[in-house]
Symmetry: C2
Subunit: 453 residues, 2 copies
């Protein structure tokens, strides 16, 4: 008879969950990792899928393949509906699964500040499907503008609003301007794609507030130099099908992208334990839930203060990986050495901030590496290098690098595909067969004023 070994259940195969499981390679336990998707997603590059620079397959990797040679791991596709801490079970697809140890790393989703009806118009960027949806909307906007006779409608189609000036918002805004100015310019006949407005709103008085103020200022200036309109201290008061309101001001925009607000994955509300305002679970210094030393929370779902700095641990990829490794090591020791379950005897989690990077556009990024603050080309190179380094598979590293080099050399985002259902909503179609032969001279900037033939 085999000796009974504990069951470790991990919810979520993001940065935190994957790193927990990797630490358990040599632990005498069965591990089951649950995720809604069959892939691990490298979220920091998701905006590059949304902006047609990378393919989904470049940044998403099958979870099964990550753990193919780790024999004590089962990968299960499915959504965890609830957790019962008293019974030590989770419910997946209506069926109960029991656990001895549980790691909750289900991540976060967008917060629309209680206005969930905005989600339909102002799409967020958390999954591959979100990114493909965003890509479709962005490409359709240019397609529709090309054939739109109505001046006001065309303006609205060529207005891209991004709500939220964190790293994702900043990166998306920069990428959209680059598409409009560099990629699309020569492909359209009736519109000057570089006239597309990209407006970035943030409720704070500066962008990327994870960075020191000097770099926030630099990011703002870089974006403005690229043609992005940056609007700080601006709170969205309404979003509807044709645009949004910022206080008294109305902006007609067909494309509203949401990069603001974070709230914890819904499963945290089924725990019956203390949550913070964003729905995150308040955990002890070792990352376990108070009163439940066998249950840990990692990544965006964990609300924890670093005892060394007295600062809350930020919701960033490096923090999630570090939390995952921390929990994985505690579990491995616990399981293999049979130490007691007392959280007080376990090491506290310390976040090691190795630096923060955000890219703004080609050759432009900002970096804050242990107090060393800089921007520009070198920060941009470093950003690329670090991201390649952390991509989960060797294949992804190689293919993303190739694609980046290619896109850099040829100024071309070639994953410009409109897939999925398309609702073409042009109000008047331009007559595409005018009677006069007038090829557009290559050296003349195209005019946005369209005259019907």
């Amino acid at each position: 008879m085999a000796q009974r070994v504990p069951n470790v259940v991990v919810i979520g195969a993001g940065f935190a969950g994957v790193h927990v499981v990797k630490q358990l390679r040599k632990a005498r336990c069965n591990v089951a990792i649950f995720d809604r998707h069959n892939y691990h997603l490298f979220q920091p590059l998701l905006y590059q899928v949304a902006s047609a620079a990378l393919s989904p397959g470049d940044i998403a990797y099958p979870i099964r393949r990550i753990f193919r040679s780790q024999a004590n791991v089962s990968v299960v596709l499915g959504e965890v509906q609830s957790i019962n801490l008293a019974k030590k079970t989770i419910t997946v697809q209506g069926l109960e699964q029991d656990y001895d140890f549980l790691v909750i790393a289900a991540g976060s989703t967008h917060s629309y500040f209680g206005k969930d009806e905005w989600a339909k118009t102002a799409i967020g960027l958390k999954t591959i499907d979100d990114a493909l949806d965003m890509r479709k909307r962005m490409l359709m906007a240019f397609e529709e503008a090309e054939n739109e006779l109505d001046e006001v409608s065309r303006r609205s189609k060529l207005t891209f609003v991004i709500v939220g000036g964190g790293p994702t918002g900043v990166e998306l805004a920069g990428a959209l301007r680059e598409i409009a100015v560099k990629d699309m310019q020569e492909d359209f006949r009736n519109i000057d794609t570089s006239s597309a407005r990209v407006i970035l709103f943030d409720g704070n008085d500066r962008l990327i507030k994870q960075f020191p103020p000097s770099l926030s200022q630099r990011a703002k200036e870089d974006l403005e130099r690229m043609g992005v309109e940056v609007r700080l201290n601006s709170r969205v008061t309404n979003v509807d099908a044709t645009g949004l309101n910022i206080g008294e001001e109305r902006i007609d925009a067909q494309n509203i992208f949401w990069a603001a607000g974070v709230q914890a994955a819904g499963v945290s509300h089924t725990l019956g334990v203390e949550l913070d305002r964003a729905g995150r679970v308040k955990v002890l210094p070792d990352l376990s839930i108070p009163g439940h030393p066998e249950v840990f929370v990692a990544g965006d779902l964990a609300s924890v203060t670093d005892p060394r700095t007295n600062e809350p641990v930020p919701g960033l990829a490096p923090a999630a990986m570090q939390m995952g490794r921390h929990i994985g090591r505690i579990l491995r020791n616990q399981i293999n050495d049979g130490t007691t379950l007392d959280p007080a005897n376990r090491p506290a989690f310390h976040y090691v901030d190795k630096g923060t990077l955000a890219t703004i556009g080609k050759n432009r990024a900002v970096a804050d590496i242990r107090g060393w603050k800089f921007g520009g080309f070198f920060a941009w190179l470093l950003w690329g290098f670090v991201h390649l380094m952390f991509l989960v598979s060797f294949r992804s590293k190689v293919f993303v690098m190739w694609t980046w080099i290619w896109n850099y050399l040829f100024n071309s985002r070639s994953v410009r595909l409109i897939t999925g259902d398309v609702h073409y909503s042009v109000r008047k179609v331009r007559d595409v067969t005018p009677s006069d032969y007038h090829p557009v001279p290559e050296d003349v900037k195209k005019d946005v004023v369209v005259t019907s033939a």
Copy 2:
């Protein structure tokens, strides 16, 4: 005042349409090319997207970018609903567009032999969205089988049926077996993925009937060696949600892929001219419609007999390209030199058969090059080389080649992503946290018999 120049309208940006427009680079005319999608698709490699080997962006390329420097071309995203030959107009999105010359190259779709209700279960492979849907179903089948306790259900989930033994059916069958045997094998814990049945049905007495019988036989033997069950002279009599009927025989299969039957795009029925049984337009030897020398049909939509061989021109990519170039040259001469519109004065279209290739699996293909018939590794290399050569962009050539080399070396299809809506339909979920610790030994073949813990 500019002199009035003719409007050329091209419907469809497939192989035929794109080649028509390319020939008109130096013609004094306005060209408008309409397509339902914003991309030109390299259809011969679509099955590789369906089988997770390539990304959509590798084989689809924005139409606008193909013609970005051809100043007399407008690209319009939209579906052509009808054509009025008498008024010389087409209707797109409810609006009429007039033409002086029209080229109809709208392609073909699947034929379910009048049983259109089968389309929901037995999905075809014509668009990127079809391929992504097929990929999702294939990957979900393995995911669901992994957790399925019910033996009969699991069998059905691991049964892949392909209807139609043309090149697409053959390529798909081979790819599915390779996935099951090589790619997935080590990624699953509860099932032996290589036990997946792949059954290829065809109504004829041999596969790939475009090829000489000896190569049909070779393809059949190669497939069988890979573990594909090839069933000839088999007509599908019913398809429903849980399987299909072949005459009296019932096969339970969750995955039915349709690679049989071709019918012309619906727009041909709005012409009011003579069509063949498949809905294709019967055209004169110059590819124009009888009585309408200003209207041409190209590609899969054209029904034409080569006057030299007295054989019908096949519905293949090379034939479509040749037809496109033929029509483009006629139009260019007509427009630039003002020759009369008499079809009798125009050159007849001759199909030049440079050879036919079909791939079966890794290192396996068949080739018939001007009567030189061979199979195996060299045919497979040639197949790869020819397909790379015809990919529309330099980027696609380079990226597909890289990906192929990678997949070849590492036996890995890494675009194994399940995207879009997922309906998880496992009837009983296996308990993934058994109480006994039993890592699967690397050298022991996994058993398909699952015992609940």
